[in-house]
Point group: C2
Chain length 104, copies 2
């Protein structure tokens, strides 16, 4: 058994990506952000679908078509493969913990 | 966008199982428990693997080999397919919210 709060650094100069489960066809990742936006330039354009949940904190996703979605604790969203998007904002005042389930 | 707290009943006379995502090869489910154990008799014996996370509250899993695992908020665990187990206890004093990712 493990805990989502395991191995959280005291400071987050960069986003931290941690695999919680890697299996055939599914990967579960914890993402820690604080004031970050990503990727540095351009868009995420993924071969896998992504179901993403904000566990604490707050973030904003922007999609290529201009849609913006603000997510707070408990909010979740499904992002189909090759739906170009970016993390356009995360709260600089607190840690944001994302849980992302990537699947084919 | 949806929220994990959507459609939570005020009382939980029975456990509540809600699909948050259903896709080919993966299913994400929210489970609400309060003082329940399940299944009523015997074991869960699943064709799918299950990655399970406790988001709030507390529960205990018992495995066929006698192992018991207590989970509190943030604890997660992977249960391979056909690993017989049951939910032997959930906290009667508060709601327990589980997130379960079933995959093949």
């Amino acid at each position: 058994m493990s805990n989502l709060k395991d191995n959280i650094p005291a400071e987050l100069p960069q986003e931290v990506f941690t695999d919680l489960l890697v299996a055939e066809g599914v990967r579960i990742e914890r993402i820690l952000s604080q004031g970050h936006s990503s990727p540095a330039s351009g868009w995420y354009d993924q071969d896998e679908h992504e179901w993403v949940l904000v566990l604490e904190g707050a973030g904003e996703l922007t999609f290529e078509n201009g849609d913006k979605v603000q997510l707070r604790a408990g909010d979740y969203l499904n992002i189909p493969a090759h739906t170009r998007h970016r993390v356009s904002w995360t709260d600089p005042e607190q840690r944001t913990v994302w849980l992302a389930v990537f699947y084919r």
